[in-house]
């Protein structure tokens, strides 16, 4: 180390300032999203007598688990400055592949599960390969994959739902060890692992740095192309896992599963504090975002609002969330 003389010590931030910065930042959660979740929950509780019950709470978690896993995928890609619009289609494709391998080929459950997640990872790998090697924008590549994966799901299944998954596989979607639905357990386990990955490993730090300033990451010696490729593959694999949860929950591989799910997933990630343009994102925040989407959908269901209107609600929430985010950024940078 160079022996540079100490000259002056920067003033330490006050204890209060440190405590303030530390508490929320350490948890990687935005206070606003917690407030929204609370207000939304309170509203639903007032509007519907069925909302506040243990069984409904489990329903919300169950409905949130598939979307939640997709939202985790969206968080990784968005916070790296990328975009994956193919999440919903890859979910559908993976479910069909998993079901086909299990039912049509009669493969044992572990192989069908691996095929399901592997199909998603493969689709994500192709996305990443084209984005990083052929320099086609992620928006276009994943939009193309949205069409390709959906088409492939329909081709592989002949446009028909594949029924009759083996019992061990169905357990993953319908089992209830200790009364907790398996998808909820898998979702929470996935969230914990990916939270640690994003917040506490070099891989996660580099993901945020690439999304923040790709050039800075490159000058720091990070292999940006390889990293992006791995992120899209991870995103695909998580979509495959979501496809597994979906298929095993409904006990079939449905080629139309997950249509417009990317909308909900990206919305959940952004409500959770992920920066649409990269550089910021946390899995805990995304879990809150996914819960907000789950509560919203559950509440609208309880209030017997048609699903068409629910789509409109989710779309509006996405635009509103980004609007508020941008409005805050502009407010902060105003002189």
């Amino acid at each position: 180390m160079t022996s540079i003389e100490p000259k002056s010590t920067a003033p330490k931030p006050s204890l209060w300032a440190r405590a303030q910065l530390g508490s929320i930042e350490q948890l990687h959660i935005r206070l606003e999203s917690l407030i929204v979740l609370f207000v939304l929950g309170a509203t639903m509780a007032i509007l519907s007598p069925f909302f506040l019950s243990v069984s409904n709470f489990m329903n919300i978690l169950l409905a949130t688990s598939t979307i939640g896993v997709l939202a985790i995928a969206a968080t990784f890609v968005l916070s790296s400055g990328g975009l994956d619009l193919s999440l919903g289609s890859v979910l559908g494709l993976s479910g069909v592949v998993g079901a086909a391998v299990a039912v049509k080929l009669g493969a044992p459950t572990p192989i069908a599960v691996a095929a399901c997640i592997g199909a998603g990872a493969a689709a994500g790998f192709v996305n990443g390969l084209i984005i990083t090697r052929a320099f086609v924008p992620a928006f276009i590549v994943t939009l193309g994959m949205l069409g390709i994966a959906r088409g492939l799901a329909l081709v592989l299944s002949d446009g028909r739902v594949i029924y009759g998954l083996p019992q061990t596989m169905v357990y993953l979607g319908q089992g209830r060890p200790f009364g907790i639905p398996m998808p909820v357990i898998i979702f929470i386990a996935t969230a914990i692992v990916t939270h640690i990955l994003l917040a506490y490993t070099r891989y996660g730090r580099h993901t945020l740095a690439i999304g923040d300033n790709e050039n800075a990451a490159r000058t720091a010696g990070i292999n940006v192309e390889w990293h992006r490729l791995s992120l899209y593959t991870l995103s695909g694999a998580l979509a495959g896992l979501a496809g597994l949860l979906f298929a095993t929950r409904i006990n079939s591989g449905d080629p139309t599963a997950g249509i417009t799910y990317e909308l909900t997933a990206i919305t959940a990630a952004i409500i959770g504090g992920t920066n649409l343009f990269g550089g910021r994102g946390s899995i805990l925040g995304t879990m809150i975002g996914a819960l907000i989407m789950g509560v919203l959908q559950n509440g609208l269901n309880l209030l017997a609002v048609q699903s068409y209107y629910q789509q409109m609600a989710i779309g509006s929430v996405l635009v509103l969330a980004v609007f508020i985010d941008q409005w805050q950024v502009r407010k902060e940078s105003r002189v």
Binding site: T2, S3, I4, K7, S8, A10, I196, A216, A220
Partner: protein, 256 residues
Amino acid sequence: MSLLEIEGVSKSFGPVNVLHGVDLTVDRGEVVGLVGDNGAGKSTLMKLVTGMYTADAGAISLDGTPILGLPPGERRRMGIEMIYQDLALARQQDVAANIFLGREPTRSILGMRFVDRAAMKRDAQAMIDRLGARLPAINRPVGSFSGGQQQSVAIARALTFEPKIVIMDEPTAALAVREVQGVLDLIRQLKADGIGVILISHRLNDVLSVTDRIVVLNHGRAAANLTTTNTDMAEVVSAIVGGGDMAEAAAHEARG
């Protein structure tokens, strides 16, 4: 054998030839000024050294090891650090994350490696203190800092990992007078520690006061290689603007 040897390096961006066979050497503990007009190719030449661009022709070696085939991360590990003109900071990340970007210290828990944030924060604070930089708070996103404060972070990043050679591309552009003196003192300190320094700056007074040698780049060619004690402002300026007899004479002088 010099610390850094650049030989006959050329680079073009498509049809635009930016560098035409440039030679440059830096010894241990030597401070070399690299000056020239806007667009002369200074930043491009340095990015060939760090590996951000790939050279079309020529050779570059550090301590005798050819480095042109190596990726940027590998070259950094060998001891080549650069403070980029555009600073290259991750604006939403804090000071420690920027200083340690790409080299985060880890500690092992159950066989897995996790970023050691406490160590990062501690060492980052120590480095900032050593530089005498004044930052509002070390755990704030650096994008909220002033230009000079951001420059301090960029400098801290370059000095934290025992570099052999430090390339500074306009390190004082955003700094107040007091901070400029700080950077010049820092360069002298690096020299005393045996570290090679390349200083790119348009502030010729600073360059004349702190360097041992001045290389002038003119339209992608090394137009002059001047020993600082034997030259003056007039000669440097004339080499930068090019064409004048003095520039020719200076180049001959350097070769002979």
